[in-house]
Symmetry: C2
Subunit: 461 residues, 2 copies
Amino acid sequence: MTKNLTTFFSPKTIAVIGASADASKIGHIIFKNFAEGGFAGKVYPVNPSAELILGNPAFKSVTEIPEEVELAIIVTPAKVVNKVLAECGTKKIKSVVIISSGFKEIGKEGTRLENDLKKTIEKYRLNVIGPNCLGVYDTTSEVDTLFLPAYRLGRPQKGSVAFITQSGAFGSVILDWAAQEGFGVSKFISYGNAIDVDEVDLMEYFLSDEETKVITMYLEGANRAKELINIGKKVSSVKPVLCLKAGSSARGTLATQSHTGSLAGADEIYSAAFKQAGLIRVSTIEEMFDYARALSTQPLMKGNKIAIITDGGGFGVMAADYAEQEGLVIQDIAEKTKRNLSKCVLPFATLRNPIDLTGSATGAMYKCSIEACMQDKDIDAVLVILLFQPPNIESDVVSYLVELKTKYSKPMLVCSAGGNYTQLHRDILERSGIPTYPTPDRAIKSLSILYKYNQIKSKLK
Amino acid sequence: MTKNLTTFFSPKTIAVIGASADASKIGHIIFKNFAEGGFAGKVYPVNPSAELILGNPAFKSVTEIPEEVELAIIVTPAKVVNKVLAECGTKKIKSVVIISSGFKEIGKEGTRLENDLKKTIEKYRLNVIGPNCLGVYDTTSEVDTLFLPAYRLGRPQKGSVAFITQSGAFGSVILDWAAQEGFGVSKFISYGNAIDVDEVDLMEYFLSDEETKVITMYLEGANRAKELINIGKKVSSVKPVLCLKAGSSARGTLATQSHTGSLAGADEIYSAAFKQAGLIRVSTIEEMFDYARALSTQPLMKGNKIAIITDGGGFGVMAADYAEQEGLVIQDIAEKTKRNLSKCVLPFATLRNPIDLTGSATGAMYKCSIEACMQDKDIDAVLVILLFQPPNIESDVVSYLVELKTKYSKPMLVCSAGGNYTQLHRDILERSGIPTYPTPDRAIKSLSILYKYNQIKSKLK
């Protein structure tokens, strides 16, 4: 049955149960996020033993709040959670995030507590995220249940990538990293022990979430394999899903039990299921980031033929090696395109693909040769290797690239490696929607995902 | 025959042939590096059509310089190179770096010019690096033939890793990156077309270079396979050699011809040769950097049994997965070690390996649990996953790690991922000789190299 998860992301009123006046408590940090952050709705602190929290009168129980509450966030000690959850039920709050830990992940005693929660959820037909999680961060509504201060854990800007994660630590790293890299996020959900809302529900939600173009997911174990495959197919035919599945080794599987209490199954079964569902399995965090940046900013590749343009021969050679490994074709340059190229490059440049503009390249040579390749109907995408160390490369090349991105509808990725001077230019490109990669292997793999997902999508349609 | 390459790195006197008064010329930049940089010896500008260069009287030819010259750097147009090279011979200069391009890499005409150079080299028994290269950068003597200004191409600090590269672009990226990351380099050589001095000579030189602990190498093609294997074995039995071989694909091979003019051979042959020689083949620039940082700062791993300590469960699970893939063993924690651990961790921490201190971990808990693992004779190395997002992690943990690095002689690597706050702490660790990695896969692979190289070394001895 489809769950209505809308109130998790854009509630009008919120109750923070376990809100605290003590600044060191997470119940304080979360309440403060809402009271002082960008959230536009109303927020009520609930704490039976407090009078005022940040100037707001505290309620003894949610049941005392004199208006409808759409979302409750529970940050009390584990033992009290079931009682306050039942009060949410009485108050007819439909959506609850349980941040508190101390459940299935700590063993027998916690499992007993978690089973009690399950009964309450069923009784009141609640939608619950958690327990043992970071909860929700929405860059539009500014719902923010993260209990870590922004100087430690940056909040990313608004964008089109959704992150779903079973692991809180993984989630906090992802958010912090995304904020640092200027990477735009639509919504973030850390769902921990998945007592109720799980990855299947969330994928279903994101299928029709218009802000989200790419879904990324960290998974340790899935309890509803069949549903995962079904919803995976539906979603993958519309938008790409990148999935990092951990717990593939014997030791890793053991470790997931004491982590989110989930039982990771045989890795091969997951691989087969992901494939059937059209989910793209990634093996590292870097891959997840790299692919998400390409998929959220670039059109898909209709075919697998690419052109590589470079100002560093060695980087061109390496990119060609990696392209072959990834099943991309380094397209022979057509005579007509060669003529176009020869008008604007140096006499000793190499017009064979990879096109080597040499260390004497200028921004204008890049512009002209990228255009020549964009206009060649046999080329499906362009990898621009742009090293900023050579002496004639000026900042104008960045404006040219931004201009070409809007002018043509073929994918274009950039590979630029180096120190501060390079980083400065990479940042501008990134913020203009042109993904940049520090090494040719990462650029090529990201390009190939644009082709691979295109194939997945066609097959599912 | 062993070449004496010492004067390339620590010459007393240098002539820059093709030095220029025109600030836009590379002959100007290189002369300026020496005249105004940290180089302590004497430097003479040579240019038949200039009077003064940066206040120094220019000589018409090296033969006119009134004292012995130990190193000549040629930056003239290609057509003039052979003439001035012969003059170097007449002047009895033994070491020459030819920066100029326009030789074998541009085709037939250039190959003819390059063959002329060969005859001159033979006639005067010269040692020549280049042509078509960046030349030499030595962090001790401050010999610096790089023709790129420091704001574009950072100069790294002094350290123990040597870089040998056939590709100039690859070299410039490596240096710039190393400078940015605070990564210490001993010597850097970009040798381009390898007309005389090649990777075999350079490996032989670095075998006995005391400043160099780790050799890294970017190679497109090797002309002396047998010698490479022989010297590889000798060097690898003393210090590790990391080798990135490009041109493994059909297209990549083609591209190397117009790049450094070398003929890359069948990839499998190289793999077999590297293996026989004990050279560690890496497949990406990131691997090269990651492994070099581990090998240059850490002792080797005597066995393959590791402990993982984490404050983020998901990261522990992923590290365990990668460890199994890399052939490392997640060692069962001995009862005695468990007792030591239980004295200092939280009651709900996981003492099974990976040891999960949870998101409530403190610096003191890290210190105590790392010590417990260091003292366990069944554990060969410790991977510390240290996420800085959790609330109780303070900067003291960095001091503890630095303290433990000197106290124990087992390898210890750190995995820390996130934004600015994390980066701040990673930088301190890096500069204290503790390599840090942003993702568990990169940390685990770097750890495994400490074991793999230990096996290579024992086999060669």
